[in-house]
């Protein structure tokens, strides 16, 4: 019995808890991508760098708050700085819409041209982030590091394996829950949210019924930028901030959005967790886990790892390809591109 509990604790510690946090981050990112896709009808390649930009502004605000001696006690100061980062990112993203994307909407450009323009925006944001904060790694998590340390858990339960939960992981999941709940409430209940869904569903019909397209687009960008900043900051808190990693997040985020069904918010959330748990599950070394479940004193040879961690991109990619082959609209029936 203790062996089974130990095995479960092991899985929870190394796969479930980090997967939950990573999945929340991906879900928030994928929600932004899916929203822009369904309202503006293009895949936004700049989304990863929007996350980096938002996280950067939050980090700068965090440093400023710290220099003033303000802190959030046991919580990371970055949570206090988050609103500043969000406002800055929203303003920047709205400026890019005004300068770049509005023109392509006006001339009704093919989605691929708008996508190309988003590559240009990606370069600009990437350059700005690297110039302002530098290409190196930044850590900005402060406050209490752990909610439960592995040692405390062991003493509490008497098990050989501990579960540690970092503050940043708990915050990630809680913040993501709140944000997703608010977003769904907004889309389902509020007048603007309904207008957005109508616009996403059938643009011409929505226009005929008097929905203001400029307002819908404006709100879509504001929400996407907010989500990106929150996702970027949570990812940076949980791991660390490095501009290039954010660019690389583009692939799992897009995979999450497409796997769930692009254009479908529920799908984006589900996709985020599917991608995160598969990445964790496939790259985890099951040696000790199987050791607990097997006969006493026996431990399997080798790491019992399906794939080395360096291939985590391959996991999201293979899931993406499988879903595209078997069910091109994604699990929750989004749009076919």
């Amino acid at each position: 019995m203790t062996d089974i509990l130990n095995a479960l604790a092991l899985m929870a510690n190394y796969v479930f808890v980090p997967g939950l946090a990573y999945g929340s981050q991906l879900a928030l990112g994928a929600l932004g991508v899916t929203l822009i896709y369904s309202i503006l009808r293009f895949s936004n390649f700049a989304h990863g760098d929007t996350m980096a930009f938002g996280a950067m502004l939050t980090i700068l605000a965090t440093w400023w708050l710290q220099s003033m001696g303000i802190s959030a006690g046991p919580l990371p100061t970055a949570l206090l700085a988050l609103p500043i980062g969000i406002v800055g990112t929203v303003l920047f993203v709205l400026a890019t819409d005004r300068i770049v994307f509005r023109y392509y909407r006006k001339v009704k450009a093919a989605s691929i041209v708008t996508m190309m323009a988003s590559v240009g925006v990606m370069f600009v944001m990437n350059g700005l982030v690297r110039v302002i904060i530098g290409p190196g790694e930044q850590r900005f998590a402060d406050g209490e590091r752990f909610i439960i340390k592995a040692r405390e858990f062991k003493e509490m339960t008497g098990l050989a394996e501990g579960i540690s939960i970092r503050t940043t992981q708990a915050i990630t999941v809680i913040v993501a829950l709140i944000v997703v709940a608010l977003l769904f409430w907004f889309l389902q209940k509020s007048r603007t949210g309904k207008a957005m869904r109508a616009y996403a569903d059938n643009e011409d019909l929505a226009l005929l019924s008097g929905i203001n397209p400029d307002k819908v687009v404006l709100v879509a960008w504001i929400i996407a930028a907010t989500l990106a900043t929150i996702a970027g900051t949570l990812y940076g808190l949980d791991k660390s901030f490095k501009p290039f990693t954010y660019f690389q997040l583009l692939l799992p985020i897009f995979a999450a959005a497409i796997v769930g069904g692009i254009g479908n918010p529920l799908g984006a959330v589900a996709g985020g967790f599917i991608i995160a748990f598969s990445e964790m599950g496939f790259t985890y070394a099951y040696k000790r886990f199987i050791g607990y479940l097997g006969p006493d004193g026996w431990v399997p040879e080798g790491l019992m790892q399906l794939l080395s961690t360096d291939y985590k991109f391959a996991v999201s990619f293979v899931i993406l390809v499988l879903v595209l082959l078997v069910r091109p609209t994604g699990i929750f029936r989004g749009k076919v591109l």
Partner: protein
């Protein structure tokens, strides 16, 4: 006429770089410009001819680079003895598993087919790993500081240019088979993914290309500077030009590469122009401009797309092999999507998509700006921050990261061209 002026200005830029910076530097840029132009040609075949949005250029370039290693590196007999048979056996086993899956997909139907496929994939994965794992461990244990990989064929590196093209074409065939039926956005994400995977494989499969330990023992395609400095005929030549032997040898090496690269560029350009003007080229443009109409006329759109995707990727692979040849080393860690994928896209868009001359001009211009911007970024920053105190933290920070201004510049160039001159500098006729 306008086009001639563009290229003349470009030439002038190289003369300027040669006179005011150094000729060696100017030639280095020129060589990379030539390689970039070949890559841009490859992308133009996909995008300009057929409208395929490929964001996996980096992966195909890296496959070309891997070809340079596999063709040129000296074979390692000890490694072959240790694990060569195992690797070959696991390759055969892999093929057998794939064959079995194909057979299952063909012969069985319904639920049985699905479960049999899943079971074969899982069983096959572990069976192949059982053979593969020990073989890899044995190979990587052979003198890991120097080799630890199977090595290559030991052939002259110039052959790798063709092999690189074949590797990239093979990769493109697999990707295209899976992803080309899908429409543009999915293809973009799929190619982005496959390029990351190719890089991950090259970084981690040490038995193949030594991974991040790099292969730096490649034989150059032309005589090295040291060989030239010791050769009597070259000493005479340098004396005849009134130049000292050491700097002359450096220039000579770079010039030789420039000549080789120019030959390849011109050959590919000539073939591309031929293809574009042929009935095949007209068909491709018809498919690009109106896919449904072309399909209604009986053109097999998916097949044609696959064909162009393979040809374009092969050209990128050739360029990738050329790049590794010139560096005389293969470093998988240096492949970065911004520089190897998106920068090439900027070249194609700025030069003029659909026009081969435009792609070449774009390749030259954008690479030139990319390199020079790294040098001039700090100067601009110096100007911007000149009002600040010398020791201000903000100023040092900005000065340190000024080189990254060029990313900003590239984005701005792309956005401006896309907005105000979407057909590029040399538009399609």
């Amino acid at each position: 006429m306008k086009n001639v002026i563009f290229f003349a200005l470009m030439g002038l830029a190289f003369v300027g770089a040669g006179e005011f910076q150094s000729w060696s530097f100017s030639l280095t840029i020129l060589n990379l410009c030539l390689i970039s132009a070949v890559m841009a040609l490859g992308v133009n075949i996909q995008w300009g001819y057929a409208g395929i949005f490929n964001v996996g250029i980096m992966g195909f370039a890296a496959l070309g680079g891997a070809a340079a290693v596999l063709v040129n590196a000296a074979p390692v007999p000890e490694a072959w003895a240790a694990g060569g048979a195992g690797i070959l056996a696991s390759g055969v086993a892999l093929l057998a598993v794939i064959g079995l899956i194909v057979l299952i997909r063909k012969k069985l139907t319904g639920g049985l087919r699905r479960y049999a496929t899943i079971a074969t994939v899982i069983g096959g994965y572990f069976a192949v790993r059982e053979i593969y794992g020990p073989a890899v461990a044995a190979i990587e244990a052979v003198d890991p500081a120097k080799t630890g990989f199977l090595g290559g064929l030991g052939l002259p590196i110039i052959f790798s240019w063709a092999v690189g093209g074949v590797f990239a074409a093979g990769g493109a065939w697999v990707v295209g088979k899976v992803a080309l039926g899908l429409r543009s956005d999915y293809l973009a994400i799929a190619t982005l993914g496959i390029s990351e995977i190719i890089i991950a494989v090259l970084k981690n499969e040490d038995w193949l290309t030594r991974g991040v330990k790099n292969v730096s023992t490649l034989e150059p395609a032309v005589p090295t500077a040291i060989e030239l400095q010791n050769a009597p005929w070259f000493q005479d030549l340098a004396a005849w030009f009134n130049s000292d032997v050491i700097s002359a040898s450096g220039i000579f090496v770079k010039l030789s590469y420039a000549v080789l690269f120019t030959i390849v560029l011109l050959a590919i350009l000539w073939l591309s122009e031929k293809a574009l003007k042929s009935p095949w080229g007209r068909m491709m443009r018809a498919i690009r401009d109106n896919r449904d109409a072309a399909q209604a006329m009986g053109k097999d759109v998916t097949r044609r797309h696959l064909q162009t995707f393979i040809i374009g990727s092969a050209v990128v692979g050739i360029a990738g092999a050329m790049l590794t040849t010139m560096d005389a080393q293969f470093t998988p860690g240096t492949y970065n999507p911004l520089r190897f994928t998106f920068l090439i896209w900027v070249m194609v868009i700025v030069g003029g998509s659909g026009n081969n001359w435009g792609s070449i001009l774009g390749g030259f211009l954008i690479w030139f700006v990319w390199v020079e911007a790294e040098r001039f970024g700090p100067l601009v920053m110096e100007l911007v921050t000149s009002g600040m105190a010398d020791d201000s933290a903000l100023r040092t920070n900005l000065m340190d990261s000024a080189a990254h201004l060029r990313l900003f510049l590239m984005g701005a160039i792309l956005l401006i061209v896309l907005r105000f001159s979407p057909r590029g500098l040399i538009p399609e006729k």
